[in-house]
Amino acid sequence: MTASNCYTTGLRCQECGRDYPAKAVYSCEYCFGPLEVTYDYDRIRRVMSADTIASRPQNLWRYRELLPIAGEPAHGLNSGFTPLVRADNLARELGVQDLYLKDDSVNRPTLSYKDRVVPVALSRAIELGFDTVGCASTGNLANAVAAHAAVAGLRAVIFIPAGLELGKVLGTLVYGPSLISVKGTYDEVNRLCTEIAAKYPWAFVNVNLRPYYTEGAKTCAFEIAEQLGWRAPEHVVLPVAGGTLLPKVWKGFRELHELGLIPELPSRLYAAQPEGCSPVVDAIREGTDIIRPVRSPQTIALSLAIGNPADGYYVLKAVSESGGYGDIASDQEIIEGIRLLARTEGIFTETAGGVTIAVLKKLIDSGRIPRDESIVACVTGNGLKTTEPMSGRLGEALTIEPSLASFEDRAGKLLELAAA
């Protein structure tokens, strides 16, 4: 990565600090710690300003100096820059004053936050000479890899645990990848993918391309800060599964602060996990830095059902450095969170989003998040993909005959119609 418009200096072990070239490697040969992309911030500071960013198209590449590609952005040109919704109705309901939702449920083209990490990974895969990409996924990543690979003309081999929601399976198959359903948990799928990545010359976005892939998640922080007028919010609530998003949002805010794009860094980050798979939040609440994997996750939030989170330690670190906390949501609370968000703000989020909203409410109710400070909750996925757990929990349509008499007879009381 030597091009003059490339600001990446290489990869560095997050554990022992050893440096590596920016290739398809992801763990330290010495201590096995995960590698992370490093940048030349002095050079970036000279070329990246709020004005240069404002002059660029509204997609995730408007922050390209802080993303790990060597060439010009060519993939995912319509991804990212999702709405930051001022959520006054929800704020009123929760009793807070300044609440926003980062709405990745309408990210393009596959309706989840994965549309911001996959273009970065695939761009780097192409630069490194791969023609086949893959992933281990609980669904949203499968959708995003399949879609972006199809557009980029790459072969896609995608691994999912058996039993995923139909919407996520069909939302992958429609793009024509090789989709492999593994009889096991996500963690077993991921372990298998690591073995496959070692044997076949494929770019697994969340295995051997993980250092690049995860950098894409920083764009969530960049966008939030820009959309707030170049300031960071005081509180950010995020869902945690494998642990990419939260530490990278923290890294994103820190980079903006380091570059002088935001004057202060007041943000506290909060982790949201489902009851039944909360290894990271358990560690936060117990005040330990040991994460005990969950062997058999039990939750309707399948996209958060990762019992052995790759970057869980870095979630703990980011939460601790920022002064945040974490909480969990039961299946019932997840459903209530989904309904609350829908009826107040018109956003139908998936189960992971229900976890986020439920935890947001708990953190406010418990006083962890003060009612008069700025809050952003990250809504990372779309409810139309995970309808199964909603089925039967929302009531049902009233069925009538196609006549006025039947309408008034059946619906009259429901709608409190005045007698004609």
Binding site: C31, N190, R292
Partner: protein, 96 residues
């Protein structure tokens, strides 16, 4: 106790390129100490400066993660199989 230990590729230069070794010890801690005696240098790859197993080294006894057992104090029986496995990029993030 005599147990079998599987060595991951990155550590095999330290074990004369043997992928599998016999080792002895009553507990996992003793087995790893036994390995260090015979193949010096292996300890610093597995343990951090504070003397605890590195966070990104996973150890399995008969395919069970030692975090579900008693960690390094896990007692061993003759013929147990121990696998040392670099922790993988274990997860697709927030919505996998």
């Amino acid at each position: 106790m005599s147990v079998k230990v599987r060595i991951p590729t990155p550590l095999q230069p330290l074990t004369d390129h043997q992928p599998e070794l016999e080792a002895s010890g009553e507990t996992l801690r003793e087995v790893l100490a036994n390995l260090e005696e015979r193949y010096p240098g292996i300890r610093e790859r597995l343990y951090d400066d504070g003397g605890t197993l590195r966070r990104f080294v996973n150890v399995y006894v008969n395919d069970e993660d030692i975090r579900f057992l008693k960690g390094e104090d896990t007692a061993l029986s003759d013929g147990d199989e121990i696998s040392i496995v670099p922790a993988i990029a274990g997860g697709g993030p927030a919505c996998g």
